[in-house]
């Protein structure tokens, strides 16, 4: 689904950054062909994507994670994990890839990138980052951020994030994103220099708009409902899944005790000894098989988590719409009241209460000249207001159009990805059952030979 870069959106972007083309090399932007590679937008299936900044296809991978210590802003020592991002460009002819860029980033820099994208592309459902802290953890997994399993899953999540951004028709063209992958030093300063924080809508303003907006687009209201439901149901599902995993772990591991006792018991048995001993071994195999099974399930849980966080991104787009709509409604309301004021002044009738009217009553009428002056000011304001309203209207409509296009794109991606995830869950269950059948068949044979 090709999306033409919308113009109003350009207005929101800070001037110095050219989304198209590398200012240094003056490379031509390559038109991205979206239509025939819906797959590439998915995570994990392939790391190849096309990007405007490179003439050739690129591969992005977060290949390593490393513990580092450094000093933070308050000059206190801290430990953090850094991730190695490698970008490769792929030669069309022979499919070989050449490493073009490689740098280290920490999680906070990913967050900065995402915040930047959120502010500058409010009509896009911006891909989410993997969770900052481990949640929905079942008891065996640690909730410690430094735990190697958590770090590994986070590495995969971060890679996924970059791939999602790189395969998004609009986001992939962003300069800051490009620099994130290529400019190690000073990147943070560059981002901050764009002044994007100033453009961020205050939370309070957004909340206010949500409550007071009168006529939001119905589709966005429905979408907000949907995202609430999605978030609630996936959270619930993840919680129960964690508990089920816990219990399943218990069932498998207790069987391991049989292994030990059978082995000890076999020492005093003559005929049964061999059978017991080997059956015990199979019980051990059974007990230890749960570790791999649950590790695989963790990946499934991560796939669901991504969409849990995507729900928040959806809500962000809805909020932006409500804000813009509210803004529009306020502007229209303001314009209407100014027009009325003007009319009242012109005709001399006071239909509405106004301070001016009161003071006039109390302190005497104003002079005709004063009145004229005020009318003129108002008329100017009205004309300005009308212009603004027009452009706000236009902005609003553009926003709705573009946002909805991205939402449709997102919906298809979500349906594809989640269906794939559910199917992979079934595949995992099948593999678990097959292992179970094998182990217990072996055990049964041992028992019957006792």
């Amino acid at each position: 689904m090709e999306q033409a870069p919308p113009d109003p959106e350009r207005l929101l972007q800070p001037a110095p950054l050219e989304p198209l083309g590398n200012p240094d090399a003056g490379l031509e932007s390559v038109v991205v062909e979206e239509a025939d590679r819906p797959r590439d937008e998915g995570p994990g299936d392939g790391t190849m994507t096309e990007n405007n900044f490179w003439l050739k296809k690129i591969e992005i991978s977060v290949s390593e994670a490393e513990k580092r210590t450094g000093r933070n802003a308050m000059n206190m020592q801290e430990t953090y994990t850094a991730y190695l991002i490698e970008t490769r460009s792929v030669e069309h002819i022979d499919g070989q890839s050449v490493l073009t860029d490689s740098l280290w980033r920490r999680y906070s820099e990913f967050e900065l990138l995402r915040n930047y994208l959120l502010v500058c592309y409010p009509h896009i459902v911006v891909p989410p980052l993997p969770e900052k802290r481990a949640e929905f953890v079942w008891h065996k997994l640690s909730a410690d951020n430094m735990d190697p399993d958590f770090v590994e899953r986070r590495r995969i999540g971060l890679e996924n994030f970059l791939l999602r951004v790189a395969s998004h028709p609009i986001l992939c063209r962003d300069k800051i994103f490009y620099l994130f992958l290529t400019q190690e030093g000073n990147w943070k300063e560059t981002v901050n220099e764009t002044g994007f924080q100033l453009k961020a809508d205050s939370r309070l303003k957004a909340l206010n708009a949500t409550f007071r907006v009168k006529n939001p687009d119905k589709r966005f209201t429905e979408l907000k409902h949907y995202s609430d439901e999605l978030q609630s149901v996936i959270s619930h599902l993840l919680r129960v899944r964690a508990r089920v995993a816990d219990r399943l772990y218990g069932v498998y591991k207790v069987h391991g005790n049989y292994g030990r006792v059978f082995s000890e018991w076999s020492a005093i048995e003559k005929e049964m000894g061999d059978g017991l001993q080997s059956a015990g071994h199979h019980m051990d195999v059974y007990a230890s098989s749960i570790d791999d099974i649950l590790e695989d399930e963790e990946h499934y849980a991560d796939q669901l988590k991504e969409y849990l966080f995507y729900a928040e991104a959806l809500r962000a787009v809805c909020r932006k719409h409500e804000l813009m709509q509210y803004d529009l409604e306020m502007a229209a309301q303001d314009l209407a009241s100014k027009k009325q004021q003007c009319e009242e002044l012109a005709t001399g009738t006071v239909r509405t209460f106004s301070l001016k009217g009161m003071t006039t009553k109390l302190f005497g009428q104003e002079t005709p000249e004063q009145r004229e002056a005020r009318i003129k000011v108002l008329e100017e304001q009205i004309s300005e207001g009308e212009q603004q309203l027009k452009s706000k209207n236009l902005e609003g409509r553009e926003f709705v159009k573009n946002a909805w296009a991205d939402i449709e794109r997102f919906k298809e991606q979500k349906n594809r990805d989640l269906k794939e995830a559910l199917i992979s869950y079934a595949v995992m269950q099948i593999s678990m059952c097959k292992k179970g059948i094998q182990v217990w068949t072996n055990a049964k044979e041992c028992f019957s030979k006792m």
Binding site: D246, N257, W265, A426, V427, I437, W440, T441, A443, M450
Partner: protein
């Protein structure tokens, strides 16, 4: 039903009178087997001894020098055990001489000879492993002729409330073709106390035989009340097992008290209970027993040392296995409880989705079906494995008691021998007493040895069956789940074969 008077020494072999037990060699029917390979001489001599001992009424068992105890008896198939042991043909020769001398019990002989001829056919039948549960209510084997002639069921627990107490009675139905029973079918009601009485009587009569264990009086741990349905059902099953095990035991099955237990009406049973050694004499016995056990086991023969070691270790292991099995059940129950919630969430989710709805509903359906399969697995565990393992926990306690009693009997002998060597009392009297005690000890040891072999065989069969059943249940569970998920997968990936092949995690 009045108790039979103390019978002529030879008779005890066929049925147990009070105080005179029929030993393991009581397989009179086995005696009929013409293929006695072991020499009967020594055995016949032992049989002679039995005559004198029988008068005492205290001999726990007539001497059965053969160590091989045939698994057969009135019930050739013990609950869970079923092969006629290799030793069976040996001991069969033992009683040939004895049994032929019995004129007064032609009727019984009829019955036994019938069984014995059946045994002939059985002695070469291959071992047929069957689960303990299938044994209990089984009437016939397809391949083997029916050798059981006593069928007992325990059911219909009923609560009774009196001014003094509340208690539960169980209905016991006995069907039999044996001659010494007045009728072929009996129905009585018994309470737990009555079962306790029976067990005590059996232990008294056969101190070194391995009496089947009774379910516990009450479960201390947990919040199980005496009248909780699950508790009563578990107890009922265990009581049923208890009686059937006695019925299948070659010696115990002919015990008089057992017969009274099965057939007497309530008032008859009470009056029967009142007879027999009074409380004081029983106390006296206990005191003597304690005194003797304090002397320690100085001269326990090697094989009983081994036996004791085995019992100790076995007891440890079976207790552990019991704990592990209970724990597995608990974990599976908790897993089941969580799974119940898991499926419906997917249904809830499908309500807000369009394209995904079918897939989500499919997953929900699979999870629910796996949930049901888990339930089945659990109930299989609680029926096939847990009661069997628990019974052997109780058996191991019982065995320790048997070892103690054997040691006591030996201690009695040892003390008298000591007294003789120190010339403390009348040597002639002592020598006579010692003679009797020596026989008693030999009796006891042989009874135990024979019963031990039988018990071990049963134990191996029972536990093997139980574990095999557990494995089968697990296989079935996984097969069911596999089928469910595979059919879901086919329905989903029918049109999306590409996606399926890429889903290699």
């Amino acid at each position: 039903m009045s108790p039979r008077p103390a019978l002529a020494p030879t008779v005890p072999r066929l049925r147990s009178g009070r105080g005179a037990g029929a030993g393991p060699a009581g397989e009179a029917q086995d005696a009929r087997e013409p293929m006695g390979t072991l020499g009967g001489a020594g055995l016949a001599a032992a049989a002679g001894r039995a005559r004198t001992l029988g008068m005492e009424g205290e001999c726990p068992a007539p001497p059965a020098r053969s160590s091989g105890l045939p698994a057969g008896g009135a019930g050739a198939e013990s609950p869970g055990g079923d092969a006629p042991l290799p030793g069976s043909s040996g001991s069969s020769a033992l009683l040939q001489a004895e049994v032929l001398d019995l004129d007064e019990d032609e009727d019984d002989l009829e019955v036994f000879s019938k069984d014995a001829s059946l045994m002939d056919m059985n002695s070469f039948s291959p071992m047929m492993p069957t689960s303990p549960l299938s044994m209990i209510n089984q009437v016939k084997f397809e391949d083997e002729p029916d050798v059981k002639d006593l069928f007992i069921t325990v059911d219909e627990p009923e609560s009774h409330v009196t001014t003094i107490e509340t208690f539960v009675t169980y209905r016991i139905i006995t069907k039999t073709s044996r001659g010494e029973f007045d009728s072929s079918e009996f129905e009585v009601r018994r309470r737990y106390q009555d079962f306790l009485w029976l067990k005590e009587k059996l232990e008294e009569a056969h101190p070194t035989l391995i009496i089947p264990p009774l379910p516990e009086k009450f479960i201390v741990k947990g919040m199980v009340e005496r009248f909780n349905d699950d508790f009563i059902e578990t107890r009922r099953k265990a009581l049923h097992k208890f009686l059937n095990r006695i019925a299948d035991h070659p010696t115990l099955t002919f015990n008089e008290d057992f017969k009274v237990f099965l057939t007497a009406q309530a008032w008859e049973l009470s009056s029967h209970k009142k007879q027999g050694p009074g409380l004081l004499s029983r106390v006296g016995q206990t005191v003597r027993a304690v005194a003797f056990s304090m002397r320690g086991v100085k001269s326990r023969p090697e094989e009983f040392m081994e036996m004791n070691n085995f019992i100790e270790l076995f007891s440890q292991k079976i207790n552990l296995i019991d704990k592990i099995s209970q724990r597995i059940y608990k974990e599976e129950r908790e897993y089941f409880d969580e799974m119940k919630e898991y499926g419906p969430i997917h249904i809830l989710w499908s309500a807000s989705e369009e394209d995904l709805a079918d897939t989500l509903k499919g997953v929900a359906g699979c999870i629910d079906r796996c949930c049901k399969a888990t339930e089945k697995r659990m109930s299989g565990l609680s029926e096939a494995l847990l009661p069997v393992v628990h019974e052997y926990v109780l058996y191991s306690e019982m065995l320790m008691g048997v070892m103690k009693r054997r040691d006591q009997i030996q201690a009695e002998l040892d003390s008298k021998v000591e007294a003789l060597t120190s010339k403390k009392a009348d040597t002639d009297l002592l020598t006579e007493e010692i003679g009797k005690l020596e026989d008693k000890v030999e009796c006891a040891n042989n009874a135990l040895k024979a019963d031990w072999e039988r018990w071990k065989q049963n134990m191996e069969n029972d536990l093997k069956s139980a574990f095999t059943d557990m494995a089968e249940e697990s296989i079935r569970y996984y097969e069911q789940c596999l089928a469910t998920w595979e059919s879901f997968l086919t329905s989903q990936t029918g049109h999306h074969l590409e996606e399926a092949s890429e889903d290699q995690f």
